[in-house]
């Protein structure tokens, strides 16, 4: 029977079938960061266990690290202790650790692929829900809790129930002025915040094949916002070209052998999915969130929706709650929403292409009075590349701060945090209550729209700034 990419990845990693439809799944690789790993290492110590396969893990601090003054010790003593603990644990258990001063440092989901730690055909986990990012390479990648991190450290396996399969077919070509973030925001809006629970998503279709690896990572990254732990794109020539020569990618004859294997992974013609949906890319306008759930999304040409038009009372209640938190009234044109803060970065949109498209908007322009704007490259490698292209100068001349890599304002664990009531145009992945600071309000969007909004001082249509309206 023709098999899907997900089924192949799954079948290749089953160690044992257990009762009740549960499988013991082999985990090839794990990324560790400072927030979800300390309790996993503590668990190993309590039980007197060792790490089964130290070479399978890569540790890097990203969540609580400051994005400035990196030449000095971390000012927040608790964050400093947390980052030091990661390094100590890595040393004690013999794991590779990328330190804060390392040129490879970055957000786990940016650094892993850059280093070639992420490869097609692997299972890869991390104590972070955005681990589906790595599915862009055709790896079965998903986020886990700290207890599961401990399982992977000690046993290299996890007990899992096989997911149902959901194919998202994105048809046609993306119109000028739109990008991968607009696809995924539209997908999340269509599926709903819990619409893909229990499903592994495969993104397919001409619009997906046309995306770069950076774009595919943006797409897979936000699968969890529709409830799915796993997002996948079948590996192809774009994938292989991007990975070839990466430090941890196979080399020489090993490379040829692995590419031969990777070519066998894509979903076969005639394979069936439990569910399929379609998105017509040709009709997509730039998308932006208005509420406190990532499925509360409208086109930038739209208005804040009215709960009176909701399909059922529960949906209306969810909208009313979001409107109250966001301080918005139904019917307001989206482009009249004033923003005081702009954030370009995160594991969703902190890669070189994101910075390039934002810089295209910002070149020769200034951010509006009263706007404070942060650009946070996803890794040192991204930062270095951007600086080689002169993008840092464009950002800074426009009035942006140019920072060091980390999760920053996507999770607001470090000192990048917004005050209550502040409103932010953000390229991150979650508009949850308090996500960017207690009482702060987040509008999710792609990097071009974030840059355009910084210039306009309100949410703005990037097509008006890219010369492609």
């Amino acid at each position: 029977m023709p098999a899907t990419l997900y089924e192949k990845l799954w079948n290749n990693h089953v160690v044992a079938e257990e009762e009740g439809g549960i499988s013991l799944l082999y985990i090839d690789r794990q990324m560790l960061h400072e927030v979800s790993s300390p309790q996993a290492f503590a668990g190993l110590r309590e039980k007197g266990l060792r790490v089964r396969n130290p070479g399978a893990h890569l540790a890097v601090a990203d969540h609580s690290v400051p994005t400035r003054n990196r030449d000095k010790p971390i000012a927040d003593p608790q964050a400093r202790a947390q980052v030091e603990l990661l390094a100590r644990n890595a040393r004690e258990f013999g794991l590779d650790m990328i330190g804060l001063d390392d040129p490879r440092q970055g957000i786990v989901h940016v650094t892993g692929p850059e280093q070639g730690f992420t490869l097609p055909g692997l299972t890869l986990v991390c104590g972070d829900s955005h681990t589906a990012t790595h599915g862009a390479f055709g790896a079965l990648a998903f986020g886990i809790g700290s207890g599961e991190c401990e399982s992977v450290l000690a046993t290299q396996t996890l007990r899992m129930t096989k997911a149902k399969t959901l194919r998202v077919n994105v048809l046609g070509d993306l119109p000028p002025g739109t990008g991968p973030k607009d696809i995924i925001l539209a997908v999340v809006a269509k599926l709903g915040s819990n619409g893909a629970i229990g499903h592994a998503i495969e993104y397919a279709g001409p619009a997906i094949r046309a995306l770069s690896m950076e774009g595919r990572m943006t797409l897979c990254n936000m699968s969890i916002e529709a409830g799915s732990r796993t997002g996948l794109v079948a590996p192809d020539e774009v994938t292989f070209a991007w990975l070839k020569g990466r430090p941890l990618a196979p080399q020489g004859a090993d490379w040829d052998e692995s590419v031969r294997y990777w070519r066998t992974l894509p979903t076969e013609a005639g394979a069936s999915f439990d569910r399929e949906i379609e998105i017509d890319a040709t009709r997509l306008a730039p998308q932006v969130s208005w509420g406190t759930s990532p499925d509360q999304v409208v086109p930038v040409t739209g208005r804040v929706p009215d709960p009176a038009g909701a399909t059922d009372p529960e949906a209306a209640a969810k909208m009313t709650k979001a409107l109250a938190y966001m301080g918005l009234t139904p019917g307001l044109p989206i482009q009249e929403i004033i923003v005081g803060h702009v954030f370009i970065g995160s594991c969703t949109n902190g890669r070189i292409e994101d910075l390039r498209v934002a810089a295209r908007v910002l070149k020769g322009r200034r951010i509006a009075d009263g706007v404070s704007a942060l650009a946070v490259p996803g890794s040192q490698a991204v930062k270095k590349q951007a600086e080689a292209e002169g993008l840092d100068v464009i950002f800074q001349q426009a009035g942006f701060e140019w920072r060091e890599p980390g999760c920053s304002l996507c999770v607001a664990m470090n000192d990048d945090r917004l005050p209550p009531g502040a409103r932010c145009a953000s390229t991150s992945n979650r508009n949850f209550e308090g996500r960017q600071g207690q009482g702060a309000r987040t509008h999710l969007m792609g990097p071009a729209m974030a840059a355009a909004s910084a210039v306009a001082g309100h949410i703005a249509d990037p097509r008006d700034y890219l010369g492609e309206a």
Partner: protein, 202 residues
């Protein structure tokens, strides 16, 4: 972990959709590297204002639900971030059973590993249990019997994987269970994997 066998408690009714793990455990407390004693941070920004004063109308700040060991929550409870601090903080607050129409998957998995029972129910059952909870009634969650008994004596079936049920009833640690039962199978898999994908090991 502490076994979950039976829990008789009043239940707090909180039918709000999409209570994400940022609401359950705000990110600014994530630099704490302990897993015990996190109850004071659970639902922090819903429980407390900027000055640390309690919001009187929040369900878990009100009598009698302040003492609730069960939460009847809305759809997609625990969506978002994988942070296990979410269940740890709820456990420390005294909540060991959560009943909802649907759960964020990672959160749900994290509950099982910490002696907590997430129960998925259909819409009608959800509405019934919300009403029981709002009336301050005691629900009797009996995992051994596989039922939740309502105040009128009627029973609702708890749907759970047999393996997860056994682990909860016995308080089994998953890491030790895997090592004890599947050590040989993992060795065999790794041997085959080295032969099949030698480039992975280099």
């Amino acid at each position: 972990m502490e076994p979950f066998i039976r829990l008789s408690s009043i239940a707090a009714p909180w039918n709000e959709a999409d209570i994400d793990t940022d609401i359950i455990y705000p990110a600014r407390f994530l630099t704490i590297t302990e897993k015990k004693g996190l109850g004071r941070y659970a639902f922090h920004d819903r429980r407390f204002d900027g000055e640390g004063r309690e919001f009187e109308d929040f369900i878990l700040n009100r009598a009698p639900w302040r003492q609730a060991g069960i939460l009847v929550a809305g759809p997609n409870f625990g969506c978002g971030s994988s942070r296990e601090q979410a269940p740890w903080s709820m456990l420390d607050l005294g909540i060991r059973c959560i009943i909802a129409p649907s759960f964020g998957e990672i959160f749900r998995g994290n509950c099982y590993r910490n002696g907590m029972l997430p129960v998925t129910v259909d819409e009608a059952t959800h509405a019934t249990l919300l009403a029981d909870a709002a009336a301050g009634a005691v629900l009797d969650v009996d995992l051994e019997a596989g039922t939740i008994t309502r105040p009128d004596g009627s029973k609702i079936a708890i749907i759970i994987d047999p393996q997860k049920r056994d682990a909860l009833l016995n308080g089994w640690d998953e890491v030790m269970t895997i090592l004890n039962r599947q050590g040989d199978a993992i060795n065999r898999y790794e041997t085959e994997r080295r032969q099949r994908f030698p480039w992975l090991a280099r």
